[in-house]
Subunit: 136 residues, 4 copies
């Protein structure tokens, strides 16, 4: 299993008139946390795009348990339970506030695709090599 | 069953550098389509908030099948399969482009809550009365 | 002078916890109104990008006079006071609510650029020809 | 003069199909930088709202010099040139990338207002006391 944690601060722009973070604004949090997760492996999603590989999001699921509030310092967990063998990668996420209350959980599925041909491919070697030690 | 359709145009702001609509930007489309759906019943979500009732989103699920592109004129379907009996309401959504290709499907669960007490309540009478004819 | 009007409905996602539209969310409204404005000429910004021309925003200015509220049906005016002769085009915008109260005014400057070379260019002929009748 | 610097990472969600940060997405960066700026004084904007004071944005101006790109680590400067004496406060901002290239400059005017009455007020004492040492 490979897990990381990223912290981010809720912006005013992300709240809505209910006084909480609007539900869709959690997805950029997850995206940002995945990017930091890959960076901790010594690789970046930006590098991968430069190699011609893109990772479109194919499916998302998110449960909202408690509201995130303006200026909350959130901890966003990234959990990779299995090393992907095909073109599909599935991340789990958890969002906690400073009181360590669980605010939301999510599951995000992305594909590895070659940008030029839009064909599905397997995980690029450089990323695979960085991840393998966590799954053996 | 109660179903409606709303059309909306993809904004440049909603695209990302993959050249497609960023995945979380579908959720404001669904929200907008639900609002138009309620308006077609002769009621508005804004009216409901004025009555002290809010509808937080509790769970979302979305599958992305084909990308939505800048300036696409999208049709967003709202499908209410069952009349809610408790505090929970579940909407289904479909997004189609002008070629009538299915781009995405979603399922969104919201609660009816009293804003003042944050207690779960059943669907407000005025909305229930408008919806009942579609389910008998 | 070339002026158009576009109507759009405020989404919940666009509000913030002050209960009004967050200030930066007016810019996608202006962008959308400009796109509709060009469409009324029988041309689209999307067409222009397909011709290899992009229009990055170079400068914006916006004054917020009264708040826009959730579910407001806004009228967004696009005003082109002068036909651009060089690479620069300057739009003026006004936002009004259903009571015809002025909510905001803006000035947006964009450049015409060739996407491939990122060189500044003059307005593409097809758009120029559509606009000239309004300025003679 | 009171100046601070905040760093933030460009999210994929903030880019558009031109491959750069969409112009309106700089405003949440400025907002976030102002919030961090106030936090460095030992106060928070969230505290101020709890005291019943809100700071709506009244006017913005932004010049875009070079594009910000996905995954760029941006430095956002907050510059307060004068201590406000009335209800109005004017911030200047600069955005730089990791190569210390200037990407954008902005000027943002906000008002201090009492949330309950929506009357303009002067800067709350606790914030004024924190700022005064920088202007004497």
């Amino acid at each position: 299993m490979f897990t990381t944690e990223t912290q981010l601060r809720v912006r005013y722009a992300e709240t809505d008139q209910m006084g909480v973070v609007y539900h869709s604004n959690y997805f950029p949090y997850f995206e940002s946390a995945r990017a930091e997760s890959i960076r901790q492996l010594g690789f970046t999603y930006a590098d991968m795009e430069k190699m011609g590989v893109i990772m479109p999001v194919i499916e998302v699921q998110c449960r909202y348990i408690r509201p995130a509030l303006y200026d909350d310092l959130l901890t966003v967990k990234v959990i990779l339970k299995e090393l992907p063998v095909h073109h599909k990668i599935e991340f789990h996420h958890e969002v906690l506030n400073e009181k360590e209350e669980l605010l939301a959980t999510a599951r995000i599925i992305l594909y590895f695709m070659e940008a030029k041909t839009m064909k599905r491919i397997t995980m690029p070697e450089p990323l695979l090599k960085k991840l393998q030690p966590y799954f053996s």
